[in-house]
Symmetry: C2
Subunit: 101 residues, 2 copies
DNA sequence: CATACATATCGAAAATTGTCAATATGGTTT
DNA sequence: AAACCATATTGACAATTTTCGATATGTATG
């Protein structure tokens, strides 16, 4: 599965914002509903909703709807995939000599 | 070594931009000087310089000056640290039950 | 030392992203 | 169905980021 550069940026955009990093911290001890996250965050409900969309799009977070509540949790598959992408992208395949003499 | 949320965002900002992802691809087969990177990229010299600064600040890339040339390479320590941060931040410490009944 | 070259910095414009108030949507309860 | 609640979406504005031309800095070379 080859990801485009664009797709890779989508993954790591999840971690480019302080608020979203904080959301990860909140999700570390298990699934939480949006209302609990909102309580803990210093932002409005629409802003939280926006961040959760970015997190879900990145694949690092899963969303699950139950009645009128929305539950979010860290995705094991997503995070493993992200680690692999990071590894792959920063792997040095010792070969090329460079450059300007 | 505890990183703040802000410091974490600095690391992953490196991978939030398509051009910078492309730069990682170029650095995968070893150290390259700025002029070679510039040849391969579709941007001007000041723009490349800006991206290289962000990459170096993230710790994922090392810069080395030699005469009037600047050589860049992927940092083994930096990338390992980034993987650890990603792992740590997305680790679920099974405990909390949630939430709204 | 004057010129040429590689890269960095500055300042401004364009593009993207984060934020919120207002409102819509979809589910639940009386 | 009407009122209510949780979350999503919209539209506008603020903040940040990307980009580039112009210029500065530092190094090598004639």
């Amino acid at each position: 599965m080859e990801l485009t550069n664009k797709q890779i940026t989508v993954i790591f955009k999840a971690l480019c914002d302080e608020n979203r990093v904080q959301i990860f911290r909140l999700l570390q001890n298990g699934e939480k509903c949006a209302c609990k996250l909102l309580e803990a965050m210093q932002c409005t409900q629409p802003t939280l909703s926006h961040h959760m969309k970015i997190l879900c799009d990145s694949g690092l977070v899963n969303g699950r709807k139950e009645g009128k509540w929305m539950y979010y949790s860290i995705s094991a598959e997503g995070t493993e995939a992200a680690v692999n992408v990071l590894r792959e992208l920063t792997k040095v395949s010792e070969s090329g000599e460079c450059c300007c003499t």
